[in-house]
Symmetry: C2
Subunit: 240 residues, 2 copies
């Protein structure tokens, strides 16, 4: 937890919070915080600043909070992915949130197992929790929107052109002639395939709807490694 993420409901008075949940446990047990301890804090969907511990005991913590700075700038990459297996789904959300993605789209594709759509990791409460952990890690306060599309063709033909609108869009494809470009300014939509890859038909449909196929190198990475690698190539620190 690099940021103590607070919501309206935590405040007992202006600038004063009382915590009893996981965040209190973290302060009390892991950080062994004492009165006077100052940590980074932020308001969910709001500004960031600091919180100072005023009282702390086994049951609760009371902190005074000051937030006046904007959260880190968002990424302008839209991350769209064929729905990954449940444990990978969590990793994609966590990594994307840490790297500032504010819009996720998950969609069906030929090589996505139908059972993935029944997984409890897709429940809103679970996703919200993963988002909170990601925001706490990277010091951000602004949650992303997460969308699901259960049919490939309507997603690509109807939804995707609007999602892409105004920026470039890339999909990895081993046979593509050019590599994924580095440091692309402005809005970019990145499309991640399923574990077994897209079918030729799927790549053609994507290409016909505004997506440029690109090569990602000669190695096949696991989705949880491909996502941070590709997000970083599109938006390296030198661009920001």
């Amino acid at each position: 937890m690099n940021l103590l993420l607070l919501t309206e409901g935590d405040f007992t008075a202006p600038g004063k919070v009382r915590l009893t949940d996981r965040r209190h446990e973290q302060l009390y047990k892991i950080l062994k915080a004492q009165p006077g301890k100052v940590c980074k804090a932020g308001i969910f969907n709001g500004k960031v600043g600091s919180a100072a511990v005023e009282e702390i005991c086994r049951e609760y913590s009371v902190l005074s909070v000051q937030t006046e700075n904007p959260p880190p700038p968002p990424s302008d990459v839209i991350l769209t992915a064929a729905l990954p297996r449940p444990q990978t789904f969590d990793k994609v959300i966590r990594c994307g949130v840490e790297m500032g993605v504010k819009e996720f789209h998950f969609f069906m594709s030929r090589k996505v197992e139908k059972s993935y759509w029944q997984s409890p990791v897709l429940e809103k409460s679970h996703i919200d929790h993963e988002i909170m952990l990601g925001l706490e890690q990277c010091g951000d306060t602004i949650p992303p929107r997460v969308h699901f599309h259960r049919l490939f063709k309507p997603f690509v033909e109807d939804a995707l052109p609007e999602i892409i609108c105004g920026g470039a869009a890339y999909v990895g494809h081993p046979a593509a002639p050019a590599p994924l470009p580095t440091a692309v300014p402005g809005k970019v939509t990145l499309i991640i395939g399923p574990e077994g890859g897209f079918t030729d038909y799927e790549v053609e449909l994507l290409a016909a709807n505004g997506v440029t196929p690109v090569t990602l190198g000669s190695r096949t990475l696991r989705t949880e490694h491909a996502v941070p690698a590709l997000l970083a190539i599109l938006k390296p620190p030198s661009l920001r």
Copy 2:
């Protein structure tokens, strides 16, 4: 398993292997391979090509193997990291191997918990297994060398200058004036800090021994996301 990774001991005759272990289980149970099925194959520390199933039953598989192509080119990034917590250590190895790293160095640092050095994940047999899984994922056959350094100062002053020699070296530091550069040609040494970051003393000692501090952006990423992101920034597909 994108590559069936074979060793000398698997061969019963030239070009013929018989498998009964995890790889056989994968062929039989997961891939439900039938005679005639062809998959990518490679010889550990050698060439890549293909293997065709000749016989397969519950107990064993027999395949004919042809390997004539070189494995994918290695990365010329040397990955050095403050020893991460055990579960993260595995992820760093897996990701580095997938992205072609052939030299790892793990070292002690002020904010590394001493208990991490007692973890069974550091046993050679465990590391070798993780390396095999990484090679199978990315289609490579060449294992990396993995080194450990239990004292920070001797590592930085004595070992590191030799490791770095002939290339650039970078360490992430929030106060650094310049960002990590993109697409650095040739040999590069990347230095990853511990979860709590390096101390000022540690960054100064690194800088005094040939390492350039660079900023990595305004977000603090988990180590398992920072590693693929930084490796990709240094060596994007457009460089290769």
